[in-house]
């Protein structure tokens, strides 16, 4: 599948070319091709162990690829780490807060480490959220700590934001606030964001592009709207006209096996729900591709 959605890697904010990464015998990334267009907010979705974090870590030069390469804003982070990381704002999986330092201190530390860090910008964002700058960072709530992490990433004024499951431990309200701040910033700064998550609903309203990663491979890479409109769901094995089966999985009530169908490209624009098929939600699309990635027909009822 890879970067088949018409994004030229030369104009991509982030691109992977045949990227593979193994940990001993476990394959984390398997010949991944990917192109994240500039100005997009791309959801990187997949189950735990799909390779999302590994992909981001390779982009951060934390992991060395076994083969292939990535480019962050046109720079290979493994060859030119310092140059590449200047272009990246990073939000790690767990908020990296220094115990004993105040919020203001965390910003001062970021400024001392990152040339050009915009303290005023980061401070303003935190103040807008009512996060006290003199509060010790280790006493912040999970949502506030995540917002601090985001403010630090945004303060770098980087062109590319890499967010590694920042929503995983947040309550629904904090998730919504986080996404709102992220979208505002991306819109105002013109930056590009890659937001990884294993919870589809987290990113559904935030992103304009979807990358599904499963078993170390890119299962789908396309605009979000195309993902929604280009797939249909049926409870039976009768495909919509011209569609190809993607994968099967259990329905929410566990009674039926649902099959996800990919419509032919010509049908995506004007396809109307048929009698036997229904519109696929984003979650259905993800489930279908992940079921396909398991190498079986998905979960089957006996």
């Amino acid at each position: 599948m890879g970067s088949d959605a018409g994004v030229s890697t030369t104009t991509a904010a982030l691109a992977a070319h045949g990227l593979s990464k193994r940990f001993k015998k476990k394959v984390a990334l398997d010949a991944v091709d990917l192109a994240v267009p500039r100005g997009s907010v791309t959801a990187l979705v997949g189950p735990n162990g799909a390779g999302k974090t590994t992909l981001i870590r390779v982009c951060m030069a934390f992991e060395r690829p076994n083969s292939g390469r990535v480019e962050v804003d046109g720079v290979d982070p493994w060859k030119h780490r310092s140059d590449a990381l200047k272009r990246v704002g990073y939000v790690p999986q767990t908020p990296a807060v220094y115990r004993g330092l105040s919020v203001e201190d965390q910003l001062a530390l970021a400024r001392s480490l990152h040339h050009g860090f915009d303290v005023a910008y980061a401070r303003r964002r935190l103040e807008q959220l009512g996060i006290p700058l003199d509060q010790r960072a280790d006493t912040l709530s999970g949502g506030q700590a995540a917002q601090l992490g985001l403010a630090v990433a945004l303060g770098t004024r980087a062109k590319v934001l890499l967010l590694d499951e920042p929503l995983a431990n947040l309550d629904p309200l904090a998730r919504r606030e986080f996404i709102q701040v992220l979208l505002d910033a991306v819109k105002s700064d013109g930056s590009t964001a890659l937001l990884s998550s294993h919870i589809v609903t987290d990113v559904e309203d935030a992103c304009d592009r979807l990358v599904i990663l499963g078993g170390g491979k890119v299962r789908l890479d396309c605009p979000l709207e195309e993902a929604r409109r280009g797939h249909r769901l049926t409870a039976a094995d009768s495909p919509p006209a011209g569609a190809t089966a993607v994968g099967s999985f259990l329905s929410k009530d566990g009674k039926d096996v649902m099959t996800l169908w990919r419509l032919a490209p010509d049908d995506t624009a004007g396809a109307e729900p048929g009698q036997e098929s229904e519109a696929a939600s984003l979650e259905d699309v993800v489930l279908g591709y992940l079921a396909a990635g398991r190498g079986t027909a998905g979960l089957q009822l006996n």
Binding site: S82, L85, P92, A96, Y98, L101, A108, L109, A110, H114
Partner: protein, 332 residues
């Protein structure tokens, strides 16, 4: 950079405070102990080879003049008092404590607590991140250990009132600038271990073992290798087995040499010569002549500079390893 240094201290405020208290406390304690010894007021005429004759039993009145017996006894008591003994022991471990306490959080704790990925992402070049931290640690520990080391020299001077501690090679690595050198070496070693292990507890345990080993082997290694070239063979005296060598306290004795014509050596005054059958010296005659390789106190600074250079080179190598490994390793 000032912010980096300030925030490094703030991040590890407990260790910073502990190091300050330990160094300044030990220095104050050493000065108090020195005052305690000096307050005994042993007359200069009672000193033997710059030292107060110390007797850990009844004073041998045939060796110590009557006028010196009481001051010598009081000095011995003061020397054996817990505060003097404790501070001397403390001085032996202080540089290692300081180096390990400051070095462990710099890398190992960042990796353990998961703050390294963000810091490394922000810094871009990891060496800049680490150099800033090393600089902060050095700015703190170098002056503090120098103060403690100079106080230890004052204590050494009080323990041996007729000896200039900066011209005596007796226990010269247990004070002065060597406090700083040991502390810096421990810091760099701990950083290297931190980069290697990425966990605080293994770093602390291994660093303690390595420091203990390094301290125990340093002097024999230096004596046998670096310093031997500076030593001169002291005029041989007549030696007979069992005879005690009269040590001069400002002289560094390396090893001895017995002249018997077979050029054998001795260790700690005990000859280890193997004589050819039929050529054993006659026990009733004058025994083999013993000479010592010695370095006299006038070479103090030359010896200090030589050992300091080796120690600094070792510290630099450990620091370079830490920089290299931080650049290569994963931040978790």
């Amino acid at each position: 950079m000032i912010d980096r240094i300030r925030l490094t201290y703030k991040q590890q405020r407990f260790e910073t405070l502990a190091v300050m208290v330990a160094c300044l406390g030990a220095a104050a304690w050493a000065l108090l102990a020195s005052w305690h010894l000096k307050s005994v007021g042993v007359p200069a005429s009672c000193l033997v080879d710059g030292r107060v004759p110390v007797w850990n039993g009844p004073i041998d009145s045939s060796w110590v003049p009557a006028a010196c017996q009481l001051p010598s006894q009081r000095f011995t008591d003061a020397l054996n008092s817990w505060d003097v003994r404790m501070v001397s022991t403390l001085g032996d471990v202080l540089p290692f404590f300081v180096g390990i306490a400051m070095g462990t959080p710099l890398v190992a704790r960042e990796l353990e607590q998961g703050t390294a990925p963000l810091s490394w992402a922000l810094a871009g070049a990891r060496w800049k991140w680490l150099v800033g931290k090393i600089l902060a640690a050095l700015l703190l520990i170098v002056p503090l250990l120098l103060i403690a080391g100079l106080a230890a020299d004052v204590l050494r001077g009080a323990q041996e009132p007729g000896i200039d501690p900066h011209a005596s090679l007796d226990s010269f690595t247990s004070g002065g600038v060597f406090f700083v050198l040991w502390g810096v070496a421990a810091l760099m070693g701990t950083l290297a271990l931190g980069a290697l292990f990425g966990r605080t507890m293994p770093v602390v345990i291994v660093a303690l073992i390595v420091c203990l080993f390094a301290r125990a082997t340093w002097e024999p290694l230096m004596d046998a290798n670096l310093l031997h070239g500076m030593a001169v063979l002291e005029m041989p005296g007549v030696y007979s087995p069992g005879e005690l060598l009269v040590y001069q306290s400002d002289v560094l004795y390396l090893d001895g040499k017995v002249y018997t014509g077979t050029d054998c050596t001795v260790s700690n005054g005990v000859p280890g010569c193997q004589y050819a059958p039929g050529h054993e010296p006659d026990p009733s005659s004058i025994g083999p002549e013993l000479a010592w390789y010695v370095i006299t106190g006038d070479k103090y600074w030359q010896v200090v500079a030589s050992e300091a250079a080796v120690m600094l080179a070792g510290s630099a190598a450990l620091g370079a390893f830490a920089l290299l490994w931080v650049g290569r390793r994963r931040p978790y």
